[in-house]
Amino acid sequence: MPEMNIGDFLVYLYDLLGWLLGVIGLHSSAVSLLQKLVAGFVLANFAMLTPIFTIWLERKVAARFQDRLGPNRVGPFGLFQSFADIVKLVIKEDITPVGADKVIFNIGPVLAVMSVVGIWAVIPFASTMVGTDINVGILYSVAVGAIGTLAIMMGGWASNNKYALLGAFRTVSQLVSYEVPMIVALLVPTLLAGSMRMNDIVAEQQVWFIVAAPLAMMVFLVSSIAEVGRAPFDLLEAESEIVAGFHVEYTGMKFGVWMLAEFVHAFTISALAAVVFLGGWRGPLVDQYPLLGAIYFLTKTYVVYMVLLWIRVTLPRVRIDHMNALNWKFLVPLSLAVLVVTALVGKAVPADVSAGGRALVLFLSNVALAVVSISLLAGFSRKLQAVEQVSIDSSGAGG
C-alpha cells in the first residue's frame, strides 16, 4: 500500500466508504452511486453553508470600510449573527400571493440555488479533490449558471405582480447581456491551457493566468459581478430606489433562499476566478501534500472575495443605460479583442520559449491593448463632454 499522506485523507475516506458499503454486500455499481451521492451531498452542503460565514464576513468588512463596528451582539465578534438572521427569516410569515402560480413560485428559488451549487461539481479543491473532472468543465459552469436566469424569470412571472415581472425582465436582460463577455473572457484561459477541463487549466498555470491574461480576468470579474447582481450592479433590486426586483413577493425563508443563491453565487465566482486565473490549488509544496492545495485554493478564493467586497463598498450604483453601455460598448469589444490578441500572440511566440517568457509577452500585449482601449475611452469621453457642454450652453442661451 502506498504511503498515505494527509493530502489524500478525503480520498481515503471516500475509498473507506466504498469499502464499507462493499462489505455489507452491495453491488459495485450501487456502491459507486452511493459514494457519489455522499460526496455530492458533502460538496453541496459546503457550498450552501459557506454563506453563514461569508455573510458575517461581508457585514463586518463592509462596516470597517464605512467606519462602523458591524454585527457585534450575537456571539464573539457577532459571529452568530447569521444564525439569528436565519431564525428571523424562518419564523416570518410565509406568504404566497393571490393568483400566483404556486408550483413555479416555489421552484424558482430552489432552481436558483441549484444552478449555483451545480458549478461546485467541477471546481477542483486540490488535484485529487474534485467532484467530477469532466472535459468541458468551463463550459459546464457557464451552462449551469444559465439555469439561474431561467429561475429568476420563473420567480418574477409566477409572483403575479407586474413589478416583479418588470424586475425579472430587467434582471434577465442584464444577466443575458453580461453572459457574453463572461464566456469570451473564460475562452482566454481555455485557449491558453488548451483544454476546458478544470484540472488541466490549473495544471497549465506554471505562471498564473492573471499574468498572461490580466484583461480577461478584469472582464471576467466585472461581468460576473453583474451576473451576481451585487453592487455596483445591484440596480436590479436597488433597495433605496425601488422596492426590490423580481423577488418583491417573496417572504420569509423563500426570500432567504434567493439571498442564499446570491451569496453562494458571489462565493462561486470567486472560486472560479481563483481556479481559472489564480492557479487554483497551485502553490509551494503542493506536490508532497495535496491537501495544501485546498488551503491555497480557499485562500485565493477569499482574496478574490475580498476584492469583490472592496468593489462593492467603494463604487456607487450604475445607472441602467450605463450598465448596458458598459457591456455592449466596452466589455464585449474588449473581450473579443483580448481573445484575438491572445490567440495571435500565443501563436506568434515560438514554442520553445519558456512558460514565463510566453506569459511576459502576453502580459505586454495585454498592457498595449489596455493603453489603446483607455485612450479610445478618453477620446470618447472628451467628445461626450463636448456634446454635453454644447447642450448646456445652448439651453442656457435659450432660457
Partner: protein
Amino acid sequence: MNATPIIFLVVAALTLVAAFLVVTVRNLIHAALWLVATLFGVAVIFVLLDAGFMATVQLVLYIGAIAILIVFAVMLTRRVMQDVGPQRNSNWWLGAIVAAVFFVAISSLLWRTGWPALPGGDVGDTVLALGRSLVNPDQYVIPFEVASVLLIIALIGSIAVALPGKQSE
C-alpha cells in the same frame, strides 16, 4: 450489467411526457417551462450517448438562450395570451393523425432495419477532435464559417425586424 438502459428508459419516458405537455398545455408559460424540461431530458440522452460536449451545448444554447428567448416572447406578447379559448386550431385532429402516422411509419421502419451494434471501447475525449475538425480545411471549416455568417445575419436581421420602426407609431 450496467444501468444505461434503465436510465435511458426512465429519462426518455419523462422527456416524452414533458414534450407531450409542451404541445398540449394551454398556458404558454407552462408550455415553455415544459420545453425546458424536455430539452434537459435530451441533454441527459446526449450524456448517455457519450457526447458530453453536446449535452453542455444543449444546456447553454437551448436552455440558456432559446428557452429564455421563448419565455421572453411569451411574456412580451402576453396581453392576447390570457389563455382564453382553445389553443389549437380546428384541424388539430388532422395534425394529430399526421403526426401519429408519421411516428408509426418511422418507428416500424426503424425496428425492421438491421442497425450496427454499439462499437466497443471507450469513445475518449471527442472535444479535441471536434474542435480540430471544425477548423480543418479538409473537413468542416466551410460549414463552420457559413454557420458563423448565418449567425451574424440572424443577429442583425432579428434586431432589424424587432426594432420598433418609425412608421409603426
